[in-house]
Amino acid sequence: MQTILSIGLDGISYGMVLFIISIGLSIMMGLMRVVNLAHGAFAMIGGYLASYAMRDLGAGYALAIVVAVIGTIIISIPLEILLYRRIYRKSDALTQLLLTIGITFVIIGLANFIFGPTLKAIPLPNALSGPLDIGFRMIPTHRVFVIVCGVITALALWLLIDKTEFGIRLRASVDNSDMADSLGIRTEWIYAATFALAVGLGAFGGVVGAELLPIEPFYALRYMVTFLVVVSVGGAGSIAGALAASLLLGLADTTGKYLAPEYGEFFFYLAVIVIAFLFPRGLFGRAH
């Protein structure tokens, strides 16, 4: 029983990291219809900025997160204006893939050049590092923090998209952008804001998830497949879907690793195949 609880806890925390990073990608794919293969690269930039802010500028952890999120958004603005704006919703998939994978390679090269090929740590404050005794086992304190971050992110996004004026405009622009345009909604601004939101979430995930997915130049490609899998299993654009998919896959992966580590990611992909077979549009996907 204790073991099952332990695996469950590990699985949930791993799933939450996947969720925080993947939700930005899910928003891009579901709402903007852009398969943004550079999403991992933005998460990585967030991680690098946080690491730089803490280790070289002496910032605290909370400040580093803010610096990372805002810094990454600022870096992404010229990319949005020059490149991404041209591929929202309209262009075919191949153009999107080539463009975004190209951006990814450029970012990997730059990261390697500027920061070098070694791992960059994001030191945790004392309150978040080390083990935490929760009665039946010790768990890394940081994992509790990650779970809390995941829950808050999910709630805040749900409120933003379902309950606010911005959310209404966003959904209108997504469902019928021509009509939204003619009703006076500045769709261009809505898209830019949503892009910033997606990038910011990626950067946030890159920082808080750095303990499990360490920051190095190939981060941008190494974990991209996992993020894409989460989005397609959950259904692009769905917050509940991404959350459910992350937790399910996190649990499948963790259970597999505990019971039969030599099988590698077999259980992760088995779960993906079963879910994709039963729900071809993803768990909470909508027909477009």
Binding site: Y14, P117, R137, I139, T141, E211, P214, K257, Y258
Partner: protein, 391 residues
Amino acid sequence: MKKSATLLSAAVAIGLMTGGASADVIKVGVIGTMSGPYALFGKNFKMGIDAWVAEHGNKVGNHTVEFIYRDEESPNPAKSKALAQELLVKDKVQYLAGVYFTPDAMAIAPLLDESKTPLVVMNAATSAIVQKSPYIVRTSFTMWQNTVPAAKVAKTNGSKKVAIAVSDYGPGLDAEAAFKKTFEAEGGQVVEAIRMPLNTTDFGPIMQRIKDSGADTIFTFLPAGPPTLGFVKAYIDNGLKAGGVKLMSTGDVVTEPDLPTIGDAGIGILSTYHYSVSHDSPENKAFLAQIVKDGGKLDEVTMTSVAAYDGARVIYKMIEATDGKRDPAKAVDAVKGMKWVSPRGPVSIDPDTRHIRQNVYLRTVEKVDGKLINKEIKTFEAQPDWALSSK
């Protein structure tokens, strides 16, 4: 005007052709991870070779030595084989060197007999590599070489039940076999042997499994690179360190560039390895000073730089013995039994296995002058590759 330009270029072309024929340049093709996640170690190949050339010049007798680098990038046997072929056929190299990954070395081995080319392996650490061709000499280490002392230390430190966790590929399986055999021969018990996929990043479940096995000590091997840090952190943060479970590893898990990232929590981790950057000897000080003089960073030095430095020494000796001619048997014979004092300590090339014999040190992570280092606390002298030699 046009005519004179044609004449001039013809003259230049002839000049180049004759120049190429008369100058005696011996080319050495170095295959290493120059880009990608393991780029640090390829960079170290170059740092080590550059340090040797800076100290000893680029001439052996009246032969000029030229090193040509190619990017191995990742464990990719097909690519490495193609690179070796290109170096042999197009660049006409007389020696091959480098190679970070075992599968890549295995792919290159069959080309050596055909092309009569010696290969000096500067990293790839699976024992069997030297048996794949009589023209292979290795100046790095093997898993057996570093792991057997680790098992002995575990036993003398009072470990009774050990859980082994290794990366699931050649060197990992070597490490597992070496530890299990030695530790059980000494009367210890291995209660769990976990093989982790190379791309594992979340080690929480592995730690839980180790904890459930009731082991008092973990022995681990992961190739130096991104995953090692995650393993050490998971060990600390899941409460195993606080719970008194000891961690024993080969030095790959605590390479010096990773130590600042592991942080103070890593203090006290034991490892056995053939080279510590902090090794206290005049040879090592001179070696590190040379690297810094060439513009290298001290924080980036790893074991591959010293293996490359010694590898360059071996290649120079081969060139000297053959007087620049292509004669692999003579070249390899010349370095069998070769002895010298390396920055890592006294070493020799075992004449039977063509693998390097060297001291293996037991080290503990310590903080000295505000910097984390692997401090050597015990020496196992002149260790052979225990898989190939029995003493």
